[in-house]
């Protein structure tokens, strides 16, 4: 086992983990505020990837091949468009399916979310067929040599995107009025309402941000693993959700930590144990962590009052 391969695996793990972390952020924010598991989140990722795919294939022929514009404009337009579509989609889903169930038991909301997830998957199946689309990476398939390591551009962009998103989100929740409103709502909905915070709008805003992040995650995920089908989002969705729980659900740094660790563990387990069992190893680690620290790595332990 030489150091170079080890580093290579580590970087690949961090890249996959960054995608998980971005998805996990969406889960964790929604859970923190609405106290619901949004199972449709994984399918929003898939929608985002499809939108970006069609935007890119539609726009590329308009530019001269090999030119700077051809490399940048379609990719950028694809990302922006898919973020816009997913944001609208997230808000619409929340408004139509989840808002009427604010007072309902959490299991009812869970089942509705599952219904939405099926709905998105099957709509995609009808609209775009089940045959896989080959996604071309948004930043080309080139790579960068750093010392003895060769790192693909996609990996670099993924990790950079994750860092930028984390910093922006931390600043947003910590500094802005809306961010403070979000934290207040997740702390105590009733008290927040009494302080004049529009709870419904705050929840919609959370879904909007989560879905925009899902779009970015979808584009990055498909840049690294280029086959795109209507079920592309579901497994990464589940894994990102476990990442959110792993790091402590409701906590933003926790989502980052959980996502990165999960990605690294998955790649290492695939490399050194068995590719067929990598998922099992990931879930095994999750179980151990939850048994030792039931609130997740960075989660707050809430004392039960009698």
């Amino acid at each position: 086992m030489d150091v170079l391969t080890l580093l290579d695996y580590l970087i690949r793990g961090l890249s996959l983990g960054s995608v998980y972390a971005i998805i996990a952020l969406g889960y964790t924010m929604v859970y923190g505020i609405a106290k619901m598991l949004n199972f449709a989140h994984g399918d929003v990722i898939m929608v985002g990837a499809y939108v970006c795919f069609f935007a890119m294939t539609g726009l590329s022929p308009m530019f001269e091949a090999g030119s700077m514009a051809a490399a940048v404009v379609p990719a950028l337009a694809g990302v922006v468009l898919s973020m816009a579509v997913c944001t609208v989609l997230g808000v619409v889903i929340e408004g139509l399916a989840y808002k009427p169930l604010r007072q309902a038991p959490s299991l009812a909301v869970l089942i509705t979310a599952i219904g939405v997830s099926y709905f998105l998957q099957n709509s995609a199946l009808i609209l775009w067929s089940s045959s896989p689309k080959i996604f071309s990476p948004i930043v080309g398939s080139g790579s960068q040599k750093i010392g003895p390591l060769t790192i693909s551009h996609v990996t670099l962009v993924t990790i950079a995107a994750c860092v930028v998103i984390m910093l922006a989100l931390t600043a947003f929740t910590g500094r802005t009025k809306m961010g403070k409103a979000m934290r207040a709502v997740s702390e105590d909905k009733g008290a927040a309402q009494l302080m004049g915070i529009n709870v419904n709008r705050t929840i919609s805003m959370t879904f909007a941000i989560g879905s925009a992040l899902a779009a970015i995650a979808g584009v990055l995920l498909c840049s690294a693993y280029p086959t795109l089908t209507p079920t592309t989002g579901s497994m990464p969705g589940i894994k990102a959700f476990t990442a959110a729980v792993f790091g402590g659900i409701g906590s933003i740094p926790g989502a980052l930590l959980g996502g990165l660790l999960l990605g690294v563990i998955e790649i290492f387990a695939g490399a050194y144990i068995s590719t067929q069992l990598s998922t099992a190893v990931v879930f095994g680690v999750l179980i151990v962590v939850l048994l030792v620290k039931p609130a997740g790595l960075l989660g707050k332990t809430v004392r039960e009052k009698v």
């Binding site: 068995s274 879930f283 048994l291």
Partner: protein, 357 residues
Amino acid sequence: MSRVVNRLANMNKTTRSSVFTYALVVGAFVILQLLRMTTGLGSVLEGQLIPICAYVTMALALNLVVGVSGELSLGHAGFMSIGAFLGCAAANGLAELIPFTPVRLGVAMVIGAALAGFFGFLIGIPVLRLNGDYLAIVTLAFGEIIKSVLTNTYLAVDKKGLHFSFLTDKNALEEGGLQLIRGPMGVMNTQRISTFTVGFVLVVITLVVIFNLVNSRTGRAIMAARDNRIAAESVGISVTKYKMIAFVTSAALAGAAGTLYGCSQTTFVATKFDFNTSILILVFVVLGGLGNMWGSVIAAAALTILPEALRQFADYRMLVYAIVLILVMLATNNPAIWGFFARLRERREEKKGGAAQ
């Protein structure tokens, strides 16, 4: 006749509900059998009879955990797959020893149930220490682990005995050896031995087990632990023990359902019992009503037939299924509809009260 009506009227709510459930299941079985003997059911429904029985059993088993014990399990398909794989492997392995198929199926089901129950116990030890959403995630994780492990398991039998290998098929078989579990290729049944009657018997046994458990001292302890963990502990109920009883019973029943289902297929693979299957069964339970057994029976039967009945919509059937699911959830949780039913009941009770005076 009037005495029967009188007794029905004087029964308490739980007994009436169990009598209704038994009547529902037996009635459905008799009607379906009569139809099969006379006009026939049509190939679609005929092919769905055993899966319906298996899913009804699964829904009842999961309802015991989610509805009665109050813990969300997202990995019940894992127990179903243990039952399906090991039960069917046993059925195939015992083919020469027990030629009479109903007995062989019965033995296979007992084996499937026992092993699933055993794994339920092993998984329950860590899982039941957690609560709420964390428990749900850990059951999800176990479901995925069971799926991965079964996908990589190779089991075979020959004159020397059982051969087992993991990840790659290293079983060197003698002449006449039989492969029972073939890794990613799943299990291939030499003979489909499940019948509708056996499925019906399994559903009835499940109902007997669950009703007797729920309406016993143990069942009341389980529900007390669900309603208020701390209060239950303070009156001396061992919460973990009673939750474990519900969990293991449920896992064993799910294992039996898995054997029934597996033995009705020519071949099946572990990925059949993935997260989506667990969710599907949870949907039956929630739509039927938590803790409501006849609700689970109806929901499981209806929702197993629904995708088949929607076959004329071809590609749109799962879409319609999704929309039905969302609309039902929105409608059943709509305060306006509940208010309407509440008013209706009030009015009827007023009338009753008026008549008595």
